[in-house]
Symmetry: C2
Subunit: 668 residues, 2 copies
């Protein structure tokens, strides 16, 4: 089956009708014109000649791993070489692009060395002494050794203090004895741990003379550098297939009294001396700051998963024709129910892109304070990044499944790639802080902030609306302006926080412990946290569209962004209408007006829908979808992908002679 | 890793604390004590010695198909033999159990002969003449030939009139010429079509002398019975990997002027005579009645997918311990946020079980009328089955993903089986009527019903509430009774229907065509349809718990069912609070009271949660999950499943010598 070289006429027409410049949108979306140019340039070279991702779908699990290692090694070399060529010593290509969109496109099975790069090398540098870095960190930096970071256990994820792996100091031999006393103490999940790494940083409870000193990091060699065979006392392997990320090689590790020299505890902060005396860390163990960055990165990543899915769904909806509204059959995108599924997610991509960018820039602005030991803005940033990560991973996961459904049966094909994108997005609901746990942490911060409201203390900037709106006797006269839609969400967040605080206090008063009262108020706390997040995301979107930045953009682009803002605000307010109506009295007519606005703006956004997703600037390799390619030759691509199935390489399957023929002859 | 023979003490304790008899619950849930006993008896024998479903996860795509055919053939023979043994001539085991829970458990890759059994044989019998049945139907009944039913095309799914495959009558040779004029006309999706079947019923546009006669069914042989090679003019194969159901062997079929004798059009109704004259069918082509049954069956099936997921999540939540509320760490099920995720879905299983049963019994009661040519209740049944199928498939799909997330990282393991269950549930949102299309059909029926309301005509029984509640001047004084919670949903459905009708009429008045006006009112119509479904499901649940049937149950069981009803009603009302608050004025206190009720009933249901899911009576083979087994030995089972990964069969992977070692030696 050959794919036509021409673009599908439906997509040509959609693009001709666009009212704005796609490149201007893309530059704005990525934040920089030069960067956009570079992205296009380098990905063209990076993506050249790579294996077809669809091949992975038909391989055995083990073959996928082998192919995944090949792709990871090749991608690493390729990016490193390009970095050397374009800007030696820089990091904008290597190692930056190994994670995220470009990395996913080059390593569709996942990267078994991702944790090596993102955590192992960083821990050696950041948590190790300079001698430790000299000895192991440098070798890790150029992959002479490959490591991972083993924290979670079979029986423990989020709650770190519950970890059971022990490191007992043996003064006699100046060694630590690492041991997993139960199978629930087995390290579980670290990427690459299964069969890729030969070293591992193990997070374990330090014991000296039987006395617990809390959690510390230990460098443990797990495989022989020459033969790659597991070392004595090491029970190591692959944890088995998962919903997604088949090539990441997540592993388990059981330690049976494995001895390592004392100097293999990472000792930049806390130390154990030769005589067994323990020197406490001068800095707090609970430094959430790096997590702010990581969680904004997760939100950023999931925003792009959603961008992929919505690009696929939008293009397919413009090409697919169905139903009896007119003759010829209309594009599916002209069905308002389809618009209702797909278009709000286009706006959602933009909203989360802006919010993640905002958290990142707050992070950078706060970094100096933190380095100077001023942690005062940390709870605020922590709350923002938690709620953003939870909201974005949750929303994107369910939205991607809706995009799958919006593509009907064909969305169910592996070649549509929506299943894989869903698998990646869904995982993010659990890793880097399980979403409910994150919302509860935000809820706790909101409770504290409400205490500040009651005591008329100053609030953190992104929470100051709680104080302002708490002072309102009632919600002002409804105008339905954008400002008011954001305020409606803020007002709901404020009042949900008030109620949660009230119920929490009542429970404390009735004699519940703090953790018990927190638990019992959990539903309301998570709801308040979610609303706080929505308020932040909508506020950020509003600021970007109506703020000073607008002057730098063309009127045409601004008009499109305004429509996306309108769609996002109306849709978000409708979504939380139950909470809003509790506190903001709206008449039937006012609610009806919002529905009219929704239907109007759907029509407006629909006109530019294909062009806007073009502006997300995702290349075919990044979408990897027969439904979503730029040329829209959907049916030819579906058929071509089917022809690639190994089942179709021979006319008669093995199963015929073996099972079907005897069965049919048996005349059951 | 050996699995302990004892049940996990946490589950023992949960079961000891149960306040009702699990067997009584199970008998009630399945509708019959004797049936329950038979289910347990036969599945014990049917499941004995089957392959480990986990093996499939590690195979190549092609090997999965081969294994799937083996399992399908063996399962068919096994069930047929058991039917002969237990009750010759009956159908309660064969072929009934080949689909649904038992079939899924025995054929975890899916059954490539399912469409043969469910549609091919039935069409030959129901749509063929008795001669046609004699000649092909009988051979199909005992699998001498295997067939499928090819309706959807690459370019057309839901909208049947758009199908492009042609069957032109050639008077000269007394043959039909079957042809797919474009690739978008390729038949796409039929189960078993790829490499399993040798016959196929093709749905095609009949043309006589170039004149269209609409859609008819044609029996086409696609493969040689002896060699299984595709016949000339037949382009047939596998459509490639999908999100789930890897062994179903969905296929494509292109027809290049394939000739079949005239007598291979199924002619029980419409006929083409030798001289080319066309005899119209005496019965309406649009008989939705069988679809009522099928859609209730889909709802039933998805209810059991949800039951599987919630059983897994509940048992795991009772065994998993995490977080610092108390020492020792509490069961995750004691976290109220976890209760909020898991427990409403237990109630949801019961609600959908009852609603599907209700539609089935309405179906059976109506069957006689239909056979007597009285189709008057069909729109009502059609509406009920559509909305139930859409609501249940949608809710269960997203709920199963929530169950996955409620199991944290381990829920992401293939061995947890939640990914597969999700894949099966999600597919049901698309097949047998895409959900949005179904809701739109219900919306149309509601519009018509609203016309009846306005004209004071009699309404169909399950829609009569629209007329009654439309007459209310306002919603009565709020008491929060169960009756009122159902009425609140009915009232919202009524008013949403009223508004949709009003907007639809306005659009017609403004000159829009009927299809245009329907499309433009689509969002409100689908919302009204969804609410109509919710009202039906909650009403059915209320009737079962408070109606006459209660007297047949023990007080203990009734108390549990009442708690599940309370949970379901409060939760459903909260979920639709935005719509309810528009039409039912509730005070802040009244809304707060619902939250208090929710938190109370969660605690009550939590106490019996493990016992209730035990009452769903799903065997370990049916759950196929390391997290959900009856004995709760979760960690041992996870570790044992990991050890089974083929990756762990040898200490050093192929990828080491081939890729990793050179990479590490290269000192990048």
């Amino acid at each position: 089956m050959s794919i036509p070289s021409a673009v599908n006429p439906d997509l040509v027409k959609e693009r001709q009708n666009a009212t704005f410049d796609v490149d201007e949108f893309a530059s704005w979306f990525y934040g920089d014109t030069a960067l956009m140019g570079m992205k296009r340039l380098i990905t063209e070279e990076l993506y050249r000649g790579l294996d077809d991702p669809l091949d992975l779908e038909y391989m055995s699990y083990e073959d996928v791993y082998t192919a995944g290692v090949k792709q990871a090694v090749e991608s690493t070399v390729r990016m490193r070489n390009m970095q050397e060529k374009i800007n030696p010593g820089g990091t904008e290509i290597y190692p930056t692009l190994l994670s995220g969109l470009v990395g996913n496109a080059m390593m569709p099975a996942g990267n078994p060395m991702a944790v090596h790069l993102l955590m192992f090398t960083k821990a050696l540098k950041g948590q190790g002494t300079s001698e430790q870095y000299e000895r192991w960190g440098k070798r890790a930096d150029n992959f002479e050794i490959i490591g991972t970071y083993a924290q979670t256990e079979l029986g423990h994820g989020t709650y770190l203090r519950g970890l059971q792996t022990r490191a007992d100091y043996d003064r006699r031999t100046d060694e630590f004895v690492l041991h997993t006393p139960h199978i629930s103490a087995y390290k579980w999940w670290p990427g690459g741990l299964g069969h890729t790494v030969n070293y591992c940083i193990v997070v374990a409870q330090l014991y000296i003379d039987g006395e617990s000193k809390g959690i510390h990091l230990f460098l443990v060699q797990v495989r022989d550098e020459e033969t790659h065979r597991p070392l004595p006392g090491i029970d190591i392997g692959d944890i088995g297939k998962k919903i997604g990320m088949p090539g990441v090689n997540n592993g388990y590790l059981g330690l049976n009294k494995v001895r390592i020299p004392r100097i293999q505890m990472l000792m930049r902060n806390a130390q154990v001396l030769e005589d067994g005396s323990y020197v406490k860390s001068p800095v707090s163990q609970l430094n959430y700051f790096p997590m702010v960055y990581v969680r904004a990165a997760v939100a950023f990543g999931n925003t792009f998963f959603l961008a992929q899915a919505v690009t696929i769904a939008t293009r397919y909806s413009a090409v697919r024709r169905q139903s009896p509204i007119n003759e010829p059959e209309p594009q599916v995108l002209d069905h308002i129910t389809q618009q209702m599924k797909v278009l709000p997610e286009i706006a959602s991509v933009v909203a989360y892109r802006l919010a993640a960018g905002q958290v990142w820039s707050l992070y950078h602005r706060t970094a100096k304070d933190v380095n100077a030991g001023d942690y005062s803005r940390l709870p605020e940033l922590h709350a923002l990044s938690c709620t953003l990560k939870a909201a974005c991973s949750y929303d994107s996961t369910y939205a991607i499944e809706r995009m799958r459904q919006s593509c009907g049966g064909h969305g169910y094909l592996a070649a549509a790639n929506l299943g894989n994108i869903f698998g990646l997005a869904s995982a993010a609901c659990t890793y880097e802080g399980e979403n409910s746990v994150l919302y509860l942490q935000v809820g706790k911060i909101l409770l504290k902030a409400w205490g500040d409201v009651l005591a008329k203390r100053q609030l953190m900037p992104t929470m100051s609306y709680l104080g302002e709106l708490a002072a309102w006797k009632q919600f002002p006269q409804w105008t339905g302006s954008w400002q008011q839609l954001v305020e409606a969400l803020q007002y709901a967040a404020t009042n949900k926080t008030r109620l949660a605080h009230q119920h929490y206090t009542t429970r404390l008063g009735a004699g519940r412990t703090q953790p018990q009262a927190l638990n019992e108020t959990g539903i309301e706390l998570t709801q308040a946290a979610e609303l706080h997040g929505r308020a932040f995301v909508t506020y950020t979107f509003l600021q970007e569209v109506t703020g000073k930045a607008a002057a730098k953009r063309s009127a045409n682009l601004n008009r499109v962004l305004e429509q996306l803002l309108e769609l996002y605000l109306v849709h978000t307010v409708q979504r939380h209408m139950a909470d809003i109506l509790r506190f903001v009295p709206l008449s039937e007519q006012q609610i009806d007006d919002l529905q009219t606005r929704l239907e109007l703006v759907l029509k407006q956004v629909r006109l530019n829908a294909v062009a806007i997703v073009d502006g997300f600037d995702l290349e075919d390799r990044e979408l990897s979808s027969v439904l979503g390619s730029y040329d829209g030759n959907v049916y030819e691509r579906i058929l071509a992908s089917a022809k690639k199935s190994p089942m179709n390489k021979r006319p008669v399957p093995v199963a015929f002679e073996r099972y079907l023929k005897p069965f049919m002859r048996a005349k059951l």
